[in-house]
Point group: C2
Chain length 299, copies 2
């Protein structure tokens, strides 16, 4: 079992109704690797600048994240600035400085090439073939994408879909990719174009999992104080794939549980700014919330 995650590692400046934080560690790769680290030992492929804090590297390692695929390049780390209004499902990007991430040439270390699961987390869709060509026969390839790539590199995103098993995307992005305002139909169309699974993330409304022969729905944890929604979707994917990697199988039973663990991990991340909540999170708290989710929907 092994899970390789390719994604961004960033400094985020974030403003929410709970406050503002400047240059805190974020990025899709960071969130998904940390979330996955509660289930397996994920391998992270990404790039940072020389300004990236050693203490965060140490924290990632302590959580069991394999950093042999993390390149440190001259220059500055990717920076993102965003703002959330009262509706935490809506965010505005204020500024994006790609810095070293703009010249990202992902290389899978030899030890990563036999990975069972590969997750391409919201990266430039043009990078996908180069990454997959370095891998042997992964059991499962997953991708996430963002509105920016769907709007600016639509053809590349559609090509990328043809080579993956599982698409993670927000419900709005699923509709945008398929060009259909109905989520169920939109997911159905995407299932015809390559992936055998679509995980549609719906923020505070949870997530839906659409397969060719099954549909599964999971709620979000009813959270009275969303401090910072950043990274919720990446943590969903990280928890999902981390669990699947640990389970060693991806039948309907495992996929359902994976989606719940994804929602559980997302529910913790939003309880504090950035990756803070993951510093104190314990396996017992994860199990407790998993049980809460069972109770929440039981009838």
């Amino acid at each position: 079992m092994s899970l390789v995650i390719v994604g961004s590692i960033a400094f985020d400046t974030i403003e929410t109704t709970s406050g503002r934080r400047e240059r805190i560690v974020g990025g899709s790769g960071t969130y998904s690797a940390l979330a996955a680290s509660f289930f397996t030992r994920p391998r992270l492929v990404g790039v940072v600048g020389r300004d990236f804090p050693k203490s965060t590297m140490a924290f990632l390692k302590k959580r069991g994240v394999d950093l042999r695929g993390l390149a440190v390049k001259p220059g500055r780390t990717f920076q993102w600035e965003g703002r959330y209004g009262e509706d935490s499902n809506q965010r505005t990007t204020v500024r994006t400085d790609l810095n070293v991430f703009g010249r990202f040439e992902p290389v899978l270390p030899a030890a990563y090439r036999g990975a069972d699961i590969i997750f391409l987390s919201s990266i430039d869709p043009d990078l996908q073939p180069r990454i997959l060509d370095q891998a042997k026969r992964p059991r499962l390839v997953a991708m996430d994408t963002i509105r920016f790539w769907i709007e600016t590199k639509r053809e590349a995103v559609l090509r990328e879909l043809g080579r993956v098993d599982l698409l993670f995307a927000n419900d709005e992005e699923v509709k945008l990719i398929a060009g259909d305002p109905n989520l169920v139909r939109a997911a159905g169309r995407i299932l015809e174009s390559g992936p055998s699974l679509v995980a549609a993330k719906k923020g505070e409304h949870g997530a839906m999992l659409f397969g060719r022969d099954f549909t599964f729905g999971v709620l979000a944890h009813p959270c009275p104080h969303v401090i910072d929604p950043t990274g919720a979707g990446d943590s969903f994917a990280g928890g999902f794939l981390g669990y699947l990697d640990r389970a060693g199988r991806s039948g309907p039973r495992e996929l359902r549980k994976a989606a719940v663990y994804g929602s559980v991990m997302a529910s913790f991340v939003i309880e504090d700014f950035g990756i803070e909540r993951l510093r104190t999170l314990t396996p017992g708290q994860i199990t407790g919330r998993y049980r809460f989710f069972k109770k929440l929907i039981e009838f």
Copy 2:
């Protein structure tokens, strides 16, 4: 066991992405009574004009709806015109002609006064005390409300809340009543002001049930072709209360099942314009979809 529903009976003109229908029968009382009729024999209190079709009266009676509380007055029946865009959770009211409903003086026939459950479905909040003063000791009083009343008669809505056990409202309305953008907190505030239960309806995202000591979430049926969302919320409440009336108890176990039956009834109504789908719906189809809901969320 008996359930009294006080609500509107209307002619609706509706435009959705699936087409347009003029002057079809609708109204909150109609939808909730019909949905409830699959579980119990609801008693409807409302008013129509002399233009109301005898065939619809006959259909309501055939479904077991008690119409002794339905007044037929000189004048025209309430008319509403609305339009839905691609997002079926959003609707625009084009026109409202209250007609006889504007002079609605609800009277509970003697046989209705000992009702176990009373549902005040989106009516003028000023009417509430007059109705409740006619009732003996109902086991449960429920209300639904709409943005229009919250915005134009806020004080009356808040007073109304003080006399009910259960509030049905859209998630946006729950937030608007409480003045809080977070649904969980907003529901919590409403629970402090009277009701012991808040059922927050979220359209395609399902519904959440908030009590003082429990939270329950139910999904919506993943529907690939929403023909007409009108009446979904009223049918949710009708199915919910119809089931509770039949169950004869309203403990947490019954409330959870009630919410699922509510979601089941809403899921059928949106499959056709107006009340059409309820004309062909069978108990077997309801049971089948209830089982589907179990499977949908099982992990």
